[in-house]
């Protein structure tokens, strides 16, 4: 599957900001995330976490644990998201939890999209065959560590599924990667359209 391995830097023994934090007792999670950080999130992920930029995922209504875990993976460099590297560097677990709680509480407001009935029908068939609704739930709202798919940005869904299928990096869920074994680009395109236009 051509899985890329972590860069050699990952082998270097080091005291990261994260590891220094471990030496302290975990602190209180703030009621609200710092406004400056929220503003940075909104710049790409849109107002209230509803993305207005293609290929950028919406965060509104994502399960809290999913957001927490992804932010940790991005902070640790296990999941490479270049745009977020500086923002996440050294961010405390408490701030991450506050951000996750904030976005989980936002109301998803997916953009109205023209529905291509044929693509949606084929995508629905693939979703049924692959049992996506077991973990993502039948309304694709997600749960726990499993993300909401309903109304997610279409280009992001497609890119994300291709990454899982072709090149799942370290820290990505091997179960999700395996769930896409054998699906063609056309299958993923239809699936992305079905999920992006899905309205419970």
């Amino acid at each position: 599957m051509g899985v890329r391995r972590p860069a050699a830097a990952g082998l270097v023994t080091r005291l990261t900001a994260a590891s220094l934090l471990l030496m302290m007792t975990p602190g209180q999670v703030p009621a609200q995330p710092p406004p400056a950080i929220l503003a940075s999130c909104a710049a790409c992920h849109g107002p209230g976490g509803n993305s207005q930029i293609a290929q950028t995922p919406s965060l509104a209504g994502q399960p809290k644990l999913f957001v927490e875990n992804q932010l940790v993976l991005i902070r640790e460099g296990l999941r490479e998201v270049a745009q977020m590297k500086d923002l996440m560097a050294g961010m405390s677990d408490e701030t991450i939890i506050a951000l996750a709680r904030h976005f989980a509480a936002q109301k998803p407001a997916p953009k109205a999209l023209p529905v291509n009935q044929e693509k949606a029908r084929l995508g629905a068939a693939t979703a049924g065959k692959m049992l996506c609704g077991t973990c993502h739930l039948p309304d694709y709202a997600g749960q726990n560590q499993v993300p909401r798919l309903a109304g997610q940005d279409e280009a992001y869904l497609l890119q994300s599924m291709k990454q899982f299928r072709d090149n799942p990096g370290p820290g990505r869920d091997t179960i999700m990667a395996a769930s896409l074994y054998g699906l063609s680009d056309a299958d993923l395109t239809n699936l992305a359209h079905y999920l992006a236009t899905f309205r419970p």
Partner: protein, 416 residues
């Protein structure tokens, strides 16, 4: 206090950043879809799932990657036999699983998804921890021998020489010598050195149920410490995540996870004993105490198979095995086996979520299994708060228990 200007500036800055990247970043060129698409196996977690299970919402439970403060750990829920006490010994290590103790007393702890290995230093009054190495692919396997820490991730084998005295030591990369196969599923490791000085390393079946794709899987191997001299010592093992050697007989005992999607009640997980090398433990044809597989069939599926000493419960997720050799616990615990059961996902009502003692009968074909540490699961609500995974005995005879869900280590003591 954050000024409004700062907020706006930050927002503009990141907007610029994401605009730049959204116009210049292209998605990585997608390789051609796998040629043998039609023959591709279903994902491991749903292999063997029947049509009537298609609407099931059973799915593997979420791990947690953020630190859980001690104040959020429901320590008061734990129940132990009279005279035993549990305390929170260390916290703030998301994903903490198997533990190995250094010669100087530092504890090394492996993880899966978060990719870290932790080091805990006990200063007497309190514990501090640091990350020894990160960004690894599920570095679950940790072992310590002759001053060196051994870490085995799914795709990497590393040795940190003299790490207790030299915390910044660069690792020796032994990956090539261990010849780790490429499939990831069930190939996160528990590792341990045996009384023979060899390093024991399991290679799980990369599926729920299948004929393994090559002879590299569904087995337990041992190596010299440098990765040379590999021997396959047992086959037919689906996924062992824990083993230990009996302190008197020196025989190896290991846990093995049963397959999913056959039924709520089975096939049960196993506790096995290796009396001689070369034994076959049945996967994929024969499970638990002689249960034939429903998908992968052959005539006489259990012929020549070494059956478990005891089954350990349906979907229990049997993890670490520890033989108690200390003197702090009452004498009846000497050489008694402790087994951690991380707890089920592929079962309508949850099972496990405890640490049990196992006392095999004299005939070696059955055992008395009794709860030792419970309270991770609330049977009324069927909700769990923690998931016990491994045990480590300290020199004073107290027993550490790791909780992978909460990233915490508990210490069990007995008060005379």
């Amino acid at each position: 206090m954050v000024t409004r200007t700062a907020v706006v500036a930050a927002a503009l800055l990141s907007l610029a950043a994401c605009q730049t990247t959204s116009t210049t970043t292209t998605a990585p060129a997608a390789p051609a879809a796998p040629a043998a698409a039609a023959a591709a196996p279903p994902p491991a977690w749903q292999q063997g799932r029947t049509a009537d299970q298609a609407s099931s919402k059973l799915a593997p439970h979420a791990g947690r990657m953020t630190a859980t403060p001690a104040s959020e750990i429901p320590i008061a829920n734990f129940k132990l036999p009279p005279g035993f006490k549990a305390e929170i010994w260390a916290t703030g290590m998301p994903g903490a699983r198997a533990m190995a103790r250094g010669d100087g007393g530092k504890i090394y702890i492996g993880t899966r998804g978060i990719g870290r290995v932790y080091e805990v230093t006990d200063t007497g009054a309190q514990r501090t921890s640091r990350v020894v190495v990160d960004k690894l692919v599920q570095p679950a396997g940790v072992a310590f021998k002759d001053g060196s820490l051994y870490v085995i991730a799914i795709d990497k084998a590393l040795r940190f020489d003299g790490i207790e005295k030299n915390p910044a030591v660069a690792p020796v990369d032994m990956t090539a010598a261990f010849r780790l196969p490429k499939e990831q599923h069930h190939n996160w490791k528990y590792i341990a050195f045996g009384p023979d000085g060899k390093l024991y390393v399991p290679f799980g079946a990369p599926c729920n149920i299948c004929e393994p794709p090559s002879k590299e899987y569904a087995q337990l191997r041992r190596y010299n410490a440098d990765g040379s001299g590999m021997e396959v010592i047992a086959t037919g093992i689906r996924n062992t995540q824990g083993f230990a050697w009996h302190p008197v007989t020196k025989e190896l005992w290991f846990t093995d996870h049963g397959r999913d999607w056959m039924s709520d009640d089975g096939p049960e997980d196993e506790l096995n004993r290796i009396a001689a090398t070369g034994a076959n433990f049945g996967f994929p044809y024969c499970h638990a105490n002689g249960v034939a597989d429903k998908d992968i069939k052959k005539a006489n599926p259990c012929e020549g198979v070494t059956l478990p000493v005891t089954t350990m419960g349906p979907h229990a997720a049997v993890m670490g095995v520890h033989f108690y050799t200390g003197t702090m616990f009452p004498a009846e615990y000497r050489n008694v086996m402790f087994v951690a059961r991380k707890g089920s996902w592929n079962r309508t009502k949850k099972f496990g979520y405890d640490v049990v003692t196992v006392r095999p009968a004299a005939d070696g074909r059955s055992a008395k299994i009794e709860p030792f540490m419970t309270g991770f699961l609330n049977p009324q609500t069927d909700a769990f708060t923690g998931r016990p995974t491994y045990m480590l005995q300290l020199p004073d005879g107290s027993l550490l228990v790791s909780d992978e869900q909460l990233g915490a280590i508990y210490r069990i003591t007995y008060g005379r």
